[in-house]
């Protein structure tokens, strides 16, 4: 693989970082002195410039031979210890090129939208500093040329997500959601980092230890036959990475943070929790496709988890009433489709859906933000209705994006979702089962999305009087991005029109060099145009059914949704509405369990470990006290007794010493006499 060395790629991530630094360190002052416009300009400009550089990179890439489309900007040495070498280096290949377009393009639009949306917030500067920092981290994730640098971006986006979910930090519910997002993501990160270790050392054992993507790809074959704990290394490593992906991309079992993440400002939901960050897991698997291609067991897991998530999240989405929560579960579900694509080896199709989804889901979120803005902060769809005429631009763009996500023919979502469903059916890793689950999910998607449209925009308004009074269309800075994104939702699909519909699938062709390795398997896929037609029509029919159900229940009100909710005592409805009680289960088991363990640990530390220490100290004190007693009452008593006796003796003897010379003389004379007598005897 030939590498073209350039030195401008670094500015794609660094410009937003610069914006973040300026606003983050001096934003408060700038905002006070020069106003919010300047703050906004400082934040938007770097992202737009980065987009410009991305276009430059794309053009340069396009000018190269497909096999040599590889730009590298090696900025500096970063970690270089033993055989572990990771530079601060950014690379652009066809895959990362697609991603930087999404991040800087859609990201740029969302920055512009935020200028209007956040206008009344005092912490305007802080919001934009976070948003820019996020853009930097996401671009590092995408452009980093090694697993480790990708991990920097990976955790960096998690940090920004945390900061933005808890942006309004005075409310505890927001900061709790932020904590949840960060901690659940950390579980994924834990898997990711273990994957890095395993890959590095397994390659190292073959003499090629590296964390740089192109080296890993180059030496991937040396991993074959290598095992750890009796399992193939590639399988274990790809599963570790997939754990990371389930965290960041909100898949079962780690999806729980994403719905709560809706506590953040709506542009954040659009940018981070719909269009870009949550797709990082999909991108990572696409990036490592050459490894996944070597691990069919992992692929099966990926496809299974993806399909299950797509289905379950859709069922929950059917009954939610919060306008953003519906979109959140929809995002979880759509991400599931992308993982299905990854799991059946249809990487290009998955990435294609990632791109189209970024357009229509960003549009939907920003549209819901526009609605919330117009409704003075109301998010409950039961209190909406009839907004169609009051907010026409928002309505039309929202409708277009809804049609796209529902898979209406010729919209972007139609092409990308249909591609995935077809691959799910036809790929050697796929099958009819996956297709059926996928199509069922698609039907539900159409249903809950149109339910949302009907509840929000049609019928009589159910809002309170003063809210109704204030309903207004949003300012230009908010509607302009909506229009652009809605247009995108209509046209980007044509980049990937499949062959049987007469298209050349230019999107797939563009990514071809990246996925060339993985295509070996997919090459055997059935190419049966009539079957492809049949399946496509079937999925359109089912989506139409979903639409009709929504239409009948929420527009015509032929049957009352409340009556359906009351079926079987309302139990099925409650289970869906309460999200299968997964949050409660996790809370009871993992959160309480950990806290319990922590308290037990602290108790053990204070009572047992320190108890032994203090006990030893007390024992010593007691011993010394006993020793003191012994000393006082035994040793000292003996000494004292001896002393007393000596004293007594002395006292008695003292009587002898009277000081009376006569007495002394008597004694002397007497004694001498006695001695002499004794001698004489």
């Amino acid at each position: 693989m030939d590498v073209t060395h350039v030195s401008y790629l670094r500015w794609i991530p660094l410009l937003p970082l610069l914006g973040a630094a300026v606003n983050g360190l001096g934003g408060a002052v700038i905002q006070r002195r020069f106003g919010k416009r300047v703050v906004g300009a400082i934040a938007v400009t770097p992202v737009l410039l980065a987009f410009g550089i991305a276009v430059t990179a794309f053009l340069q890439l396009k000018g190269l031979d497909p096999e040599h489309r590889f730009l590298l900007d090696d900025v500096s040495r970063w970690i270089d210890v033993g055989t572990l070498k990771a530079d601060i280096a950014f690379w652009v290949d066809p895959l990362s090129c697609v991603m930087i377009f999404v991040v800087t393009g859609i990201g740029g639009l969302i920055h512009i939208y935020s200028i209007g949306y956040m206008h009344d917030d005092d912490a305007y500067w802080r919001f934009f500093a976070y948003l820019n920092l996020f853009t930097f981290a996401m671009l590092t994730l995408v452009l980093g040329d090694s697993l480790l640098l990708m991990f920097v971006g990976w955790e960096g986006v998690g940090l920004c997500s945390y900061a933005l979910i808890g942006f309004w930090w005075r409310e505890q519910v927001n900061t709790t959601a932020g904590n949840k997002a960060f901690i659940v993501n950390r579980i994924g990160d834990f898997g990711f980092i273990l994957g890095i270790f395993l890959i590095f050392w397994s390659l190292d054992a073959a003499g090629h230890g590296s964390v740089v993507f192109r080296d890993i790809q180059h030496h991937a074959t040396s991993l074959e036959g290598r095992t750890i704990w009796g399992l193939p290394v590639v399988t274990v490593a790809t599963l570790f990475f997939f754990l990371g992906a389930t965290g960041k991309s909100a898949q079962i079992p780690l999806y729980v943070w994403l719905p709560d993440a809706m506590q953040g400002p709506t542009p954040v939901s659009a940018l981070i929790h719909a269009a870009t960050m949550v797709t990082a897991g999909v991108y990572m698997i696409a990036r490592l496709n050459f490894l996944y291609a070597m691990a069919p067991e992992t692929l099966a897991v990926v496809a299974g988890i993806g399909a299950a998530t797509a289905f379950f999240a859709a069922t929950i989405g059917l009954v939610q009433n919060d306008i953003k929560r519906v979109l959140a579960y929809s995002t979880v579900s759509q991400l599931g489709y992308m993982f299905v694509a990854m799991g059946v080896g249809a990487y290009a199709a998955g990435v294609f859906h990632l791109v189209t989804h970024a357009f229509f889901k960003a549009c939907l979120f920003l549209g819901s933000g526009s609605v919330i803005h117009g409704m003075s902060g109301e998010q409950d769809m039961r209190k909406m209705g009839g907004l169609k005429d009051k907010m026409p631009t928002t309505f039309w763009t929202f409708l277009i994006a809804t049609m796209a996500i529902a898979g209406t023919p010729l919209t972007a979502g139609f092409f990308s979702k249909d591609e995935i469903l077809w691959k799910a059916y036809s790929s050697p890793y796929g099958g009819a089962g996956l297709w059926i689950i996928g199509v069922a999910g698609a039907g539900m998607t159409a249903c809950y999305m149109f339910r949302q449209v009907f509840m929000t925009f049609f019928g009589e308004t159910r809002a309170e009087h003063d809210v109704v009074h204030h309903i207004h269309e949003s300012p230009r800075s908010m509607t302009m991005p909506l229009v652009l994104l809605a247009s995108g939702s209509l046209v980007v699909g044509f980049l990937g029109v499949p062959e049987f519909l007469g298209g050349g699938n230019r999107f797939e062709a563009w990514l071809e060099p990246v996925f060339a390795h993985a295509h070996v398997a997919a090459a055997h896929a059935t190419h049966d145009a009539s079957l492809e037609w049949t399946l496509m029509l079937a999925s359109v029919a089912i989506a139409t059914t979903g639409f009709l159900i929504a239409y009948l229940l929420y527009y015509r009100r032929t049957a009352s949704p409340e009556a359906i909710a009351a079926v079987a005592g309302g139990a099925p409805y409650r289970i869906l509405y309460d999200k299968y009680y997964v949050d409660e289960l996790y809370w009871a088991v993992f959160v309480r369990g950990t806290l319990l363990l922590a308290r037990a640990g602290a108790w053990f530390d204070a009572t047992i470990v320190d108890g032994i220490v203090n006990g030893a100290a007390r024992l010593t004190v007691t011993l010394s006290w006993l020793d003191g007693l012994f000393d006082n009452y035994v040793v000292d008593r003996l000494v004292n007794v001896l002393a007393d006796r000596t004293y007594d003796l002395g006292a008695r003897l003292r009587r002898v010493q009277t000081g009376n010379i006569n007495a002394y003389l008597y004694v002397i004379v007497g004694t001498v006499t006695l001695v002499l007598l004794a001698r004489l005897m």
């Binding site: 970063w78 210890v81 960096g156 930090w169 005075r170 709790t176 960060f182 270790f197 363990l597 320190d610």
Partner: protein, 504 residues
């Protein structure tokens, strides 16, 4: 005279000067203390510039006869391992002097003792004569005892005595091992380079429980040093000492003193007893280190006193050092020493930050605050940086060292590494939870009037913050210093023949 001698004894000279000053000249005393800790910092920068990174040999060596009848010499010098610790010490000391500016009783005694402590710490890191090392080790103990015992919190006497007795118990074991080593060499010597060169001669024939002399010495030294790290179960003096100690002393305690434990193991256990090191590293460093990581994190999570939480997080983070050094991979051992340095800066920040809030609110109960972000935004910003650094967030210094440790450990102990790595979840848990309870949420009415962090306090924190960021982006500023010496150390252990294979 070696620059190291200047760096070691300048603070002592400062102490002499302070003792001659009148006790009421408060500002003058503080300024003098600062004036005698800044030159070592400048010399440290010079040392950083000029240190030869290509050799594992000791540099800036000075040797002079001292007690000739026992072959004891004044012998100092630094290699990559000690130079990083020397730099950490000279960096933290002036910061701590500034952080002590608010001390209001016994000022003369406080700063005089602090400078004595400074000399003791420097001496430990630069000594290449075991006897000299031991003297400095003990010299350090005494001022620390008084600094906690006089200037500490309500339970200061308990904490000071606990600290003193614990360390003294460790010292006795070190002393015994030192004397055994001294007499094992012919001619008897305390010269560390000699003791290392003779490492193959210390007996490994089993004496008791299958352990040879070398292993017994190793264990005695290990316990002596483990108390300082502190490793479970010898760690309970630490939370008490931290809770009672004044801010600056906590900074020194966590920032420098704890490193002496792991430094001692690397310098003495690794250097002089490589065979025992190879035999015992798994249980006493890798497994115990992993236990430290998890156990410390769990205990931290359950604390209600912010300073105690930080203290337990230290126990957790020092576990990485033990795990990393036990891996005998370039990444593991480099990560371990880098972690020593990074923990020094990050924990120093954390303790300084706790001090800032304690000075204002006069308590540290985590539940007793709330919404400080709205009252002290700049302070909260700096705290967030320190918290995320402690969580090992990529882009900040501790990430590099933790990832190197875990990556390095994976090759030898994948199972332990998985357990150790899972602590990143726990750490995020207790750090974020603390963040939420103290800094976020509705501002507590009681503290609406708290003043923002002062310029002096910022001066103590900003340099550390900058280092934390810079080392996250360019860790080789430290890694290049330590790498060659550590690879050499790894080699020494690797070259040691296995004695008790079953213990591994």
């Amino acid at each position: 005279m070696s620059i190291l001698t200047w760096m070691t004894f300048l603070p002592l000279a400062g102490m002499a000067v302070i003792l001659c000053l009148p006790s009421r000249a408060h500002t003058l005393i503080k300024q003098t203390a600062l004036a005698f800790t800044l030159p070592p910092l400048v010399m440290g920068i010079w040392l950083f510039e000029h240190f030869d990174r290509a050799t594992a040999a000791f540099q800036y060596v000075q040797r002079a006869p001292w007690i000739e009848s026992y072959n004891i010499t004044y012998f100092v010098g630094v290699d990559g391992i000690s130079v990083s610790m020397v730099l950490l010490t000279v960096l933290l000391c002036p910061i701590c002097i500034l952080a002590s500016w608010g001390i209001d009783k016994g000022i003369k005694g406080y700063f005089a003792l602090f400078l004595l402590l400074d000399t003791g710490m420097m001496g430990v890191f630069v000594s290449l004569d075991f006897f000299l090392f031991y003297i400095f080790w003990e010299v350090m103990l005494l001022p620390m005892y008084f600094l906690i015992g006089i200037w500490g919190g309500p339970r200061r006497e308990y904490a000071a005595i606990k600290f003193f007795l614990y360390t003294l118990a460790g010292s006795v074991l070190i002393l015994i091992a030192m004397l055994v080593l001294y007499f094992s060499n012919e001619p008897h010597t305390f010269d560390m380079t000699q003791l290392m060169a003779q490492s193959a001669t210390y007996g490994t024939a089993p004496i008791i429980w299958g352990l040879g002399l070398q292993h017994l010495l190793w264990l005695a030294l290990f316990v002596g040093f483990a108390i300082k790290i502190p490793a479970f179960p010898f760690h309970t003096w630490l939370p008490d000492a931290h809770v009672e100690a004044p801010t600056a002393i906590s900074v020194i305690l966590a920032g420098v003193l704890l490193k002496m434990g792991t430094y001692g193991i690397l310098r003495i256990n690794y250097g002089m007893l490589p065979i025992a090191t190879a035999d015992l590293a798994f249980w006493f460093l890798a497994a115990l280190g992993t236990w430290n990581i998890i156990y410390g994190a769990l205990c931290a999570m359950a604390q209600t006193d912010l300073k105690k939480l930080v203290a337990y997080s230290s126990i957790s983070h020092m576990g990485y050092v033990m795990l990393g050094m036990a891996a005998f991979t370039p990444q593991g051992i480099n990560g371990a020493v880098l972690q020593m340095f990074n923990h020094g800066t990050v924990t120093a920040m954390l303790f300084l930050l706790v001090g800032v809030i304690y000075d204002r609110a006069h308590h540290r109960e985590i539940e007793g605050f709330g919404g400080l972000a709205g009252i002290m935004p700049v302070y909260t910003g700096v705290t967030a940086l320190a918290f995320f650094a402690a969580m090992g967030l990529p882009g900040l210094s501790a990430f590099i060292s933790e990832v190197l440790v875990l990556l390095g450990a994976w090759q030898k102990y994948p199972g332990l590494t998985i357990v150790a790595a899972s602590a990143v979840i726990l750490t995020a848990g207790y750090m974020l939870w603390t963040m939420q309870r103290i800094y976020l949420g509705t501002p507590n009415e009681k503290y609406l009037g708290l003043p923002e962090i002062s310029a002096r306090e910022l001066v103590t924190l900003v340099p550390l913050g900058v280092i934390v960021v810079v080392l996250g982006v360019y860790p080789h500023a430290v890694l290049d210093l330590i790498n060659v010496s550590l690879l050499n150390l790894n080699q020494m252990v690797a070259a040691a023949p296995a004695a008790v294979a079953s213990l591994r």
